[in-house]
């Protein structure tokens, strides 16, 4: 039969067959309750497990996203080779010239910034406290995903003019100013006055720092900070952000190529700088979470597949029971394939009805967990449209697979037996 006719036949047969299947289910659902329960349970667990999985994933994205998910920190180390008549073990020192080299010579990086961090006494009339202070270019704002809650972040102009301005982590306002409005007020950082121009939005616990340190830090421009915190020249770290996350290895190569001439290093030198990369650090946890999610999905799917076996058995029994009806349909002109289609449709309907109920129950369970009191760091499950559509895809697959054996029973029905119904 040409495909177009086949399609027309399918479109003609399926709607009444679905109707018949629903009628049959309505008439006999009590007898099928146990089997249906298996499908309901299977579908509910797929939804629940996949939602838990995507909750974990969110948690990861969110946790890394808070501090920027793709920068690479370049730190100066000691040389391991002889070069320019100098012995191995020479200390490498970064200055602003290194930053300029990286900015000019690393095309796969979108942003680069220098950062020095130090713990220094910070003083206000209210309190004196040793505080982590970061001195960095304004690009740090983007690279580490800061968000300003009040006031503003320092900008290129502040940096160029060496203005002594400061942006506070969210938790420091109370510490240093109590109930007062911190904007426009002054902090003594390492003995020098800095004006507060902004307060960051609270980040909470951060995956990268394994703490809430960004909420308890002060951020100042590099130019002013270098003077207040260090020798005015030495840079501790350069953060580089690849344009695309997959360019991270290229960035490393380009950074070496850009810095080596500046420090008279031979190509075989590998130890002079070290790299600490967020993508590299997050990779193992992402892999674990991916495997976890896969596992949860597999557990759910296996549950559903087992329930599908139950439906297949039920439908095989039903096909046998209805051999007389099926034979009569053959006398009415049903082809073998039409009867197979009938059993496939009927099986799929059973699976989809049970499955829809299960999805609804699974979603309700997810909603319940979301509002339930959870342990503090437990990532709440999340309902994604893709979770629901994946579940239905699995259900359709299970329904069709479960329908194969019953369809074969239907195909074997002898049309002549219609004349011998007793």
């Amino acid at each position: 039969m040409p495909p177009r006719e086949k399609l027309a036949r399918l479109r003609r047969l399926v709607p009444p067959l679905v109707g018949d299947a629903l009628d049959n289910l309505r008439a006999s659902w009590r007898a099928q309750a146990l089997t249906l329960a298996g499908i309901v349970w299977g579908a509910a667990s797929v939804v629940l497990l996949l939602s838990l999985g995507s909750g974990f994933n969110d948690f990861l994205d969110f946790g890394f996203g808070k501090t920027g998910d793709r920068w690479v920190a370049v730190d100066p180390e000691y040389t391991s080779t002889e070069a320019g008549g100098r012995l191995p073990g020479r200390r490498i020192r970064f200055t602003v010239r290194d930053l300029d080299r990286v900015r000019a010579g690393v095309p796969s990086a979108g942003r680069a910034v220098a950062e020095n961090q130090d713990i220094v006494p910070v003083v206000t009339p209210r309190r004196t406290r040793a505080t982590v202070v970061s001195a960095a270019g304004p690009e740090l704002f983007h690279i580490q995903n800061h968000a300003v809650g009040r006031g503003r972040y320092f900008d290129a102009d502040d940096e160029r003019r060496g203005r002594r301005v400061a942006v506070l982590g969210a938790d420091l306002v109370e510490v240093f100013f109590g109930d007062l409005d911190p904007l426009g007020r002054t902090l003594q950082i390492g003995g020098e006055p800095f004006e507060v121009i902004g307060v960051l939005v609270r980040k909470g616990w951060q995956f990268m720092t394994n703490s809430d340190i960004h909420d308890r830090m002060i951020f100042v421009p590099l130019s002013a900070g270098l003077r207040a915190l260090g020798d005015g020249e030495t840079i501790e770290t350069i953060l580089v952000e690849p344009r695309r996350i997959q360019d991270e290895p290229v960035v490393r190569r380009e950074v070496r190529a850009a810095l080596w001439p500046l420090h008279n290093l031979p190509p075989e030198e590998t130890r002079a700088v070290s790299f600490m990369s967020v993508p590299e650090i997050s990779e193992p946890s992402r892999r674990i979470f991916f495997v976890l999610q896969l596992l949860l999905g597999v557990v759910g799917t296996v549950t559903l597949a087992m329930a599908g076996t139950g439906v297949a058995n039920l439908m095989i029994a039903i096909a046998h029971e209805r051999r007389a009806e099926l034979a009569v349909r053959r006398t009415c002109g049903a082809r073998r394939a039409d009867l197979m289609l009938q059993l496939l449709v009927e099986t799929a309907v059973v699976v989809l009805v049970g499955g829809t109920l299960g999805v609804a129950i699974g979603l309700s369970a997810v909603l319940l967990i979301q509002v339930a009191p959870l342990p503090p760091d437990f990532p709440p499950p999340r309902i994604l449209p893709s979770v629901v559509s994946t579940t239905f895809l699995v259900l359709v697959a299970v329904g069709l697979a479960a329908g194969v054996a019953p369809a074969r029973v239907a195909a074997r029905v002898d049309p002549a037996s219609a004349l011998r119904v007793t």
């Binding site: 036949r9 009569v328 006398t331 049309p415 004349l419 119904v421």
Partner: protein
């Protein structure tokens, strides 16, 4: 024009464990358009087996069967199904209606497989049921109907595709005398309208109405005579 149905030396064998039994042992038969034939014979003589061959529900083990000039042997399984959908109607002793379908949907069933759309199926089944006096039972299910009404629905199902031949196996076997007579009157009407009917029966009343009676014994035609 040739006969509507032509059987030549048709044999039907069934395998029984080790051996084989030959149930039909060389049947020759021509049926012309518009005939009303009764097939009679003792129980186990092969009547139903013959009807099953005539209805293209199974193939002869040997011999040839031409329906409307076509050799059935050359048809594949789908072609036989399509032939039944378009040109044959069946009436059974046990009615064999779909228990969860209304009268209309039961009667319309062959049209579904013959390729009619929903509206046409409904309209034709309705019209036919009304003509058979079941206008008040259209949306009833078989469980809500009497035996005679059920058999009428079954007859409507057999007629709905306007078949070339209606094949019935003991159509009055499960009905009381009065209801049986009503069904037979219906058959008379159909015959009067030019419909070809082949009815397997034990009942002499059927044979009385048929134009031709074929008697079968041990898988052979014993007699074939105008009634």
């Amino acid at each position: 024009m040739g006969a509507l149905i032509a059987l030549r030396d048709v044999r039907k064998r069934f395998s029984l464990g080790e051996g084989e039994v030959e149930i039909l042992r060389g049947i020759d038969l021509d049926v012309d358009e518009g005939e009303f034939i009764a097939i009679m014979g003792p129980s186990g003589s092969g009547k139903t087996t013959m009807l099953e061959i005539l209805g293209a529900l199974s193939r002869p083990s040997a011999g040839s069967y031409h329906f409307d000039g076509d050799a059935i042997e050359s048809h594949d399984d789908d072609a036989l199904a399509d032939l039944r959908a378009a040109r044959m109607g069946f009436v059974f002793q046990t009615f064999n209606l779909m228990p969860r379908m209304t009268a209309v949907r039961n009667a319309a069933l062959p049209l579904l497989y013959a390729g009619a759309g929903r509206a046409e199926r409904e309209a034709r089944a309705r019209g036919l049921l009304e003509r058979l006096g079941l206008g008040h039972r259209l949306d009833h299910r078989p469980g809500q109907m009497s035996g005679g009404e059920r058999q009428r629905v079954a007859i409507a199902r057999a007629l709905v595709n306007d078949p070339r031949v209606v094949l019935a196996d003991e159509p009055t076997g499960n009905l009381d005398e009065k209801t049986g007579r009503e069904i037979l009157e219906l058959f008379d009407d159909l015959h009067g309208g030019g419909r070809t009917l082949i009815v397997v029966t034990h009942a002499p009343e059927v044979a009385e109405r048929a134009g031709r009676v074929i008697r079968i014994r041990d898988g052979r035609i014993e007699s074939d005579a105008a009634a």
